[in-house]
């Protein structure tokens, strides 16, 4: 029954995706293909697939995206030239990082409700992966900015700033987790922090939007069939990276569970010996 429920959740999410304004303007073929891609990604995510398979499929899809970027996608974009190709790795990491931070907020809330350490491990793993995705977004963004704007960092741009602030807050979250030893207290405090920082993400987005002028390129200008392939690869990459990050998230969570179990055994074992 649980798997059926998860598939239902996945379909509802993909249906909601269709309502997105950006998604509406795509060609029919791309919409169906990318919709199916993300649907599969969500199914993988919701643990209906064993971890090993999930990991291999994630990696295979990412390598396939790399192949598409090397061969299928048009070389030059009118304004930006080759440097725009980095977009296919920058865009997926950006949305995954944002999605995972908010997901971690939700899991932290659930941990506070049920006081179960399992959710704390899953939230911490989710945030660790999200920080890696955030770093990738920042670095690829900088290399792209270097080519497109001539300078790696523009302080007044709200999007760059939002991602930077998120990176700092969640690095502080990881530092905070390292400072506490008692697992129960660490779980509760980290969950409180997870919720507080998840609330902070939209706040930062709107607070800065009022004061910085927008210099982020809105849409890549392409025409004809080129646009079809570009958007296809873009959303294919999004699905691929999403599956890979979810696989890494499940892997890191199970590694944290194993560490906790190992500590428990060591603690019990040490108490028996004395």
């Amino acid at each position: 029954m649980k798997d059926a429920f998860k598939i239902l959740v996945a379909t509802v999410l993909v249906a909601a995706l269709y309502m997105l304004p950006g998604f509406e303007s795509l060609g029919a073929r791309t919409k169906w293909l990318s919709g199916a891609g993300i649907f599969i990604a969500l199914c993988f995510t919701l643990k209906s697939i064993p971890l090993g398979v999930h990991l291999i499929v994630g990696w295979a899809l990412v390598i396939e995206t790399l192949r598409q970027v090397c061969h299928d996608v048009p070389m030059k974009e009118i304004m930006l030239g080759e440097s725009y190709l980095i977009f296919y790795f920058h865009f997926p990491s950006a949305i995954t990082c944002l999605a995972m931070f908010l997901m971690a907020g939700g899991i932290s809330f659930w941990q506070l409700k049920t006081n179960d350490l399992k959710w704390d491990q899953s939230a911490a793993a989710c945030i660790e992966l999200a920080v890696i995705a955030c770093s990738i977004t920042l670095l690829t963004g900088m290399t792209w900015a270097q080519a497109a704007w001539g300078r790696p960092w523009i302080w007044s741009d709200p999007r760059l700033l939002t991602v930077a602030i998120m990176w700092f807050t969640y690095m502080a979250y990881l530092m905070f987790r390292m400072a506490i030893d008692d697992p129960v207290k660490r779980a509760r405090f980290s969950s409180v922090l997870g919720i507080l920082f998840a609330i902070n993400v939209p706040l930062v987005w709107y607070a800065i939007r009022l004061f910085g002028e927008e210099s982020h390129p809105m849409e890549l200008t392409m025409e004809g069939t080129q646009k079809e392939i570009m958007t296809y690869t873009r959303w294919y990459g999004a699905g691929a990276f999403f599956i890979l990050y979810m696989a890494l998230w499940r892997l890191r969570a199970s590694s944290m569970r194993a560490d906790a179990k190992c500590d428990q055994l060591e603690d019990a074992f040490m108490r028996q010996k004395i």
Binding site: I165, A179, F189, V192, F197, I199, L203, A207
Partner: protein
């Protein structure tokens, strides 16, 4: 209603303890004025430098010395285990959070008036001459600015007070949260501290107050709901 009575008595006795020791407020004022003093040397009375860098020192002095008050917020309670007694009293932990936040906010406001006085003296900001109409907007924006960083600050200090090296972690956690608030305030600086014609882009103090008010409201509600989870073991 019992909640309000407990709220006001918590504040009253917190102020009484602070008034007896006067440690936190004095520390904060001294630290802030010291920062401004160093700042005034870097500006060394060149008027165009003052217009750009002066207000920045004002805000940095307030936020850095504010964290001194925050990291000392829960020390008087933890001294004799009074925290345990307050938490097992029949009041909602959120009321205890609001009372502690108000108390720390008052200390920070006292400190920010001292900072304003020092700013007027060190950066010769003619508060009574040319900019006399600026007193009200500056105080309101400062008060809201202090509220926005005291609200999460008290929650974070409740979490980090027990840790080894807790003060450092409190600052590491608090400052990323405050980056957008500082940006909002710095963009309102030209209209507050200098004549607006000079500034290229600026936001009116009203929008700054509105944003700060909204941020403060959201943080206070979120921390009010989260505080019981922090305090209960």
């Amino acid at each position: 209603m019992n909640g309000w009575r407990a709220f006001f008595s918590l504040i009253r006795w917190d102020l009484a303890v602070e008034f007896r020791r006067r440690e936190t407020t004095l520390n904060m004022c001294l630290f802030a004025v010291l920062l401004l003093f160093i700042g005034s040397y870097t500006v060394s009375q060149k008027t165009e430098l003052i217009d750009t860098f002066g207000p920045i020192y004002y805000w940095i002095a307030i936020i850095f010395s504010g964290t001194v008050g925050l990291s000392r917020a829960f020390l008087p309670e933890r001294e004799n285990g009074a925290m345990a007694a307050i938490v097992t009293a029949p009041i909602d932990a959120g009321v205890y959070y609001l009372a502690k936040m108000m108390a720390v906010w008052l200390y920070v406001l006292v400190m920010s008036f001292m900072v304003l006085a020092a700013y007027v003296v060190l950066f010769d900001f003619e508060i009574y001459g040319q900019y006399s109409d600026r007193i009200l907007p500056i105080t309101v924006v400062t008060a809201l600015f202090c509220l926005v960083y005291v609200a999460p600050g008290v929650l974070l200090s409740a979490m980090t007070v027990g840790l080894k090296g807790g003060e450092v972690i409190l600052r590491i956690l608090l400052f990323p949260l405050m980056i957008p608030v500082i940006i909002v305030v710095l963009s309102a600086n030209p209209r507050l501290f200098t004549d607006p014609e000079l500034a290229v882009t600026y936001t009116s103090p009203e929008t700054a107050m509105a944003t700060l008010g909204a941020l403060a409201a959201i943080y206070v509600c979120a921390c009010y709901l989260l505080f019981p989870k922090v305090v209960e073991e």
